[in-house]
């Protein structure tokens, strides 16, 4: 078994991993390696052929493949190494990696590690959907891969459960490819994805949107033949008597994404049960020294632009750690989710650090005050669970801290 030593090992070659590796290389480290389990770099971006990427990061409206290409080329120009078709099967807290590939097992020792494994889709299993196990039930992302990479149209008459962005994007895509999307069914009273997708993917094509509805049963033996949908009450329980059957041959699921942290968990990285990702500090360092995280492995972002920004910070910090440049630790505060806040990342912040918090709210609300302890108090016109609220904390804000603080409440209060 061969052994190698590197400066920074980045696990995952999607947008997060590439951004982290580029930053680490730009920090002057020679030996930066990206380990990617699929056959190419760029992760999910290649199948996201629609536009809307890069508006914040590049100030341009790019498609997924174009956005990905920029980072792949930059990484390649800078001499970032990559291992494709290679999966990290074991990681240890002292930053040794065991990698499985077609050449067998390889062992790698890294001065620092960036976790950039991204996220995966929730499947039927996590919904407890009753009915048969007929063909034609797949996640929206799998359908996207079939249509945009392999050129297979998964069905002719489609119902989509959940109104996440991938689901809405696929509603449009399948419509343009000649399929009929009979309904997008959402359990909440509002759409799960971005407003522009609601308008440009659903309303542009007159695709029926059933809010406060769910699929209660799947029919069909060999192949999906229909689904039963019903209105739900406030607790998401189907209301008897509101059921109706929609004939279809395909059911797509767009019901949420889960950060992929099996590897993190295996070495005891502290995870945030709400965000689903590692607890990190303002340098994107996890609870284990020298192990950093960025992108959707940390929490599910709304935009790839934010993934890149977060992962760049993880990459820069990993480089600083590898160069033993990490400054003396400053006192830290832990952020606690308060009113209408689901989570904030990073969860632990060093006092005095310039930091951008990614805040995810629970419910949509208008005219709110976003507060972080006594140091931030800003008014926001609107907040929605589908959009991360970026909160910038500067040295000036930190100067408002009095005395010793260990915890700060972050809240999003409705103005009454």
């Amino acid at each position: 078994m061969s052994r190698e030593e590197v400066d920074v090992a980045v696990i995952g070659g999607g947008p997060a991993g590439l951004a982290a590796a580029v930053k680490a290389r730009e920090a002057g480290l020679d030996n930066v390696i990206v380990i990617e389990r699929s056959e190419y770099l760029g992760g999910l971006l290649d199948q996201c052929i629609h536009n809307g990427f890069g508006l914040f990061y590049f100030g341009e409206d790019l498609t997924g493949p174009e956005y990905g290409r920029r980072f792949i080329e930059k990484a390649s120009d800078l001499g970032v190494k990559s291992l494709l078709n290679s999966m990290v099967v074991r990681l240890s807290p002292d930053r040794k990696l065991l990698i499985s590939s077609h050449t067998g097992l390889t062992s790698l020792s890294a001065k620092s590690v960036v976790l950039a494994m991204g996220c995966r889709e929730r499947t039927r299993g996590s919904l407890c959907l009753s009915g048969t196990r007929a063909a034609g039930i797949l996640t929206a992302g799998t359908a996207q891969r079939y249509v945009n990479i392999y050129g297979y149209i998964p069905g002719r008459e489609v119902v989509i459960l959940g109104s996440g962005d991938v689901g809405m994007i696929m509603a449009r895509r399948l419509t343009l490819e000649g399929a009929t999307v009979k309904a997008v069914v959402e359990v909440l009273p509002y759409v799960g994805g971005l407003i522009r997708n609601e308008v440009q993917c659903l309303y542009d094509f007159n695709i029926p949107l059933l809010l406060e509805h769910t699929v209660t049963e799947i029919h069909g033996k060999e192949r999906v033949e229909a689904v039963t949908v019903a209105r739900v009450d406030k607790k998401w329980n189907p209301i008897a008597g509101t059921e109706r059957v929609i004939t279809c041959d395909t059911l797509l699921l767009s019901v949420g994404l889960i950060p992929e942290n099996e590897l993190s968990r295996s070495i005891g990285v502290e995870l945030d049960p709400v965000s689903g990702g590692p607890v990190v500090d303002s340098a994107m360092e996890t609870s284990l020294s020298g192990i950093f995280a960025g992108g959707n492995v940390l929490h599910v972002n709304d935009l790839v632009d934010n993934v890149s920004r977060e992962a760049e910070l993880a990459g820069a910090s990993a480089a600083a750690f590898a160069k033993e440049e990490i400054k003396q630790r400053k006192p830290r505060v832990r952020l606690i989710a308060g009113e209408n806040v689901r989570y904030a990342v990073p969860q632990v912040v060093s006092i005095g650090d310039d930091v951008t918090l990614s805040v995810r709210v629970r419910e949509p609300a208008e005219n709110v005050r976003l507060k972080v302890g006594n140091i931030i108090n800003q008014s926001l016109r609107v907040v929605k669970p589908s959009q991360i609220v970026p909160v910038i904390v500067t040295a000036e804000d930190w100067s408002k801290i009095n005395g010793v603080v260990y915890e700060m409440l972050i809240s999003c209060e409705s103005r009454r």
């Binding site: 052929i49 536009n51 498609t63 945009n148 609601e198 440009q200 609107v382 929605k384």
Partner: protein, 121 residues
């Protein structure tokens, strides 16, 4: 006089904006928007709703079965399905670079269809 409704996508507020439109298709009044930016967006969306069209085309290469493409500028929303049918009949030969023109002034929209990926032999 008609009263179309347009949802603004400028920010997460998603204002439902009602227009009062005169017989000459001129916007006489706008209600429901909460900012000036929204006003601009809604006026443009009413006069010429346009979208960047994205799709894939079949390739004649073992490198990849499909090549992603887009129009290099927004095209009228009403023509998206027509464009989709047009690209369904295309076959692309390698080599193609990112940004390379695949079809000039596609269907007379004034937009060019360009590759958003690379295709080798």
């Amino acid at each position: 006089m008609t009263k179309p409704e347009i949802i603004c996508v400028g920010c997460p507020l998603g204002c439902r904006v009602t227009l009062t439109v005169g017989p000459d298709s001129r916007i006489e009044n706008m209600a429901g928007n909460r900012c000036r930016e929204g006003e601009k967006y809604v006026a443009a969306e009413f006069q010429n709703p346009a979208r960047v069209f994205t799709a894939t085309v079949l390739t004649e290469s073992g490198d990849r079965r499909l090549l992603p493409v887009k129009t290099d500028r927004p095209v009228p929303k009403s023509r998206l399905k027509e464009l989709s049918r047009a690209v369904a009949g295309m076959r692309i030969k390698p080599a193609v670079g990112i940004g390379q023109e695949i079809a000039h002034d596609i269907l007379g929209t004034g937009a060019n269809l360009v590759s958003t990926g690379t295709l080798s032999g």
